[in-house]
């Protein structure tokens, strides 16, 4: 099965990337975009069909490797 894992900076952590991109959009006239933050997304293919199991595995992968919990949080989308 396919799944997605989103990893993003915690709310309170500065996001220089998001800031620079937001400012660029502003200059291009996108005045309706009032906030923008950047994250990573992992598109994962799992060799199983059990959603619970998949979630478990992704959680473990996030905790161990994919998410730097000091500054980031994550979300699993099945």
């Amino acid at each position: 099965m396919k799944a997605k894992l989103e990893v993003f900076l915690k709310e309170t952590v500065l996001d220089p990337q998001g800031k620079a991109i937001k400012e660029a959009l502003e200059k291009l006239g996108f005045d309706k975009i009032v906030d923008l933050r950047v994250g990573k997304i992992f598109y994962v293919e799992l060799d199983l069909e059990d959603r619970e199991k998949a979630k478990e595995i992704l959680e473990e992968a996030a905790e161990k490797l994919l998410c730097n919990k000091i500054i980031e949080s994550y979300k699993i989308i099945l």
């Binding site: 220089p16 990337q17 620079a20 991109i21 660029a24 200059k27 291009l28």
Partner: protein
């Protein structure tokens, strides 16, 4: 004759290029802020290396919207020389002035090292003093230098003679999957020209090797050629 060295926010080889042009190669040059809307009085432009806008989105992606880029596009169409080095090359591809894109290096790390380049072209503007098969040594310093384009474009580049340099061994051998193509570029491409041959984009830094004191003068081939083009 006068060459504009464009300064984007985050450019950091702007002064190096300016120095190589003006002090070393004797080409009148001026630093031009990216918010400038006109390049009147200039006969060519260099887009220098660095990290425009921090490369925070994709390298070169935001800089392509700088006001001065309209003029750079005009230069490209009018046949005036435009040289993009490193981040400058990335900006030119993002702006669609040159084909392809520059992906993350295949080892995912920034690479600062010497590379050997085999000359693939006898472009009269930038490579007058080089001939096909020559090998020159220049340094690279980038995170995203892994050249990519689709198959059709590659075929086109080859057929139309738009490839300027390819990464090679010191003897000019091309080995795509070896340390001689450190960033993993498609077809070992290190530099490309537009169809008309007046726009050159390259990842290696010719401005860093223009004096013996710093180890090599191979970069001068390109600047001298440019000078010759201007002075006839």
């Amino acid at each position: 004759m006068k060459v504009a060295v464009i300064v984007f926010p985050g450019s950091n080889c702007d002064f190096d290029v300016y120095y190589a042009l003006k002090e070393v190669s004797g080409i009148p040059a001026e630093l031009v802020w990216h918010k400038e809307k006109s390049l009147k009085g200039f006969n060519g432009a260099v887009l220098p290396g660095g990290f425009s806008y921090g490369d925070y989105l994709r390298a070169g992606a935001i800089a392509k919207f700088s006001p001065v880029m309209e003029e750079v596009k005009k230069f490209a169409l009018e046949g005036k020389p435009v040289l993009g080095i490193c981040n400058g090359f990335q900006i030119l591809t993002e702006a669609g002035i040159l084909p392809g894109a520059l992906l993350r290096n295949k080892n995912l790390k920034f690479l600062c090292q010497d590379v050997y380049l085999r000359v693939e072209n006898k472009n009269p503007i930038f490579m007058k003093y080089l001939k096909e098969g020559d090998v020159i040594k220049l340094p690279i310093a980038h995170m995203d230098g892994n050249y990519f384009c689709d198959e059709e474009t590659l075929k086109d580049l080859i057929e139309k003679g738009q490839i300027a340099f390819r990464y090679s061994s010191p003897d000019g051998e091309i080995k795509e999957n070896s340390k001689f193509n450190p960033n993993g570029s498609l077809y070992s491409i290190a530099g490309v020209l537009n169809r008309e041959g007046n726009v050159l984009g390259m990842m290696p830094h010719p401005e860093r090797y223009v004096e013996k004191l710093l180890g090599s003068k191979d970069g001068l081939y390109i600047f001298k050629s440019l000078k010759k083009f201007f002075t006839g």
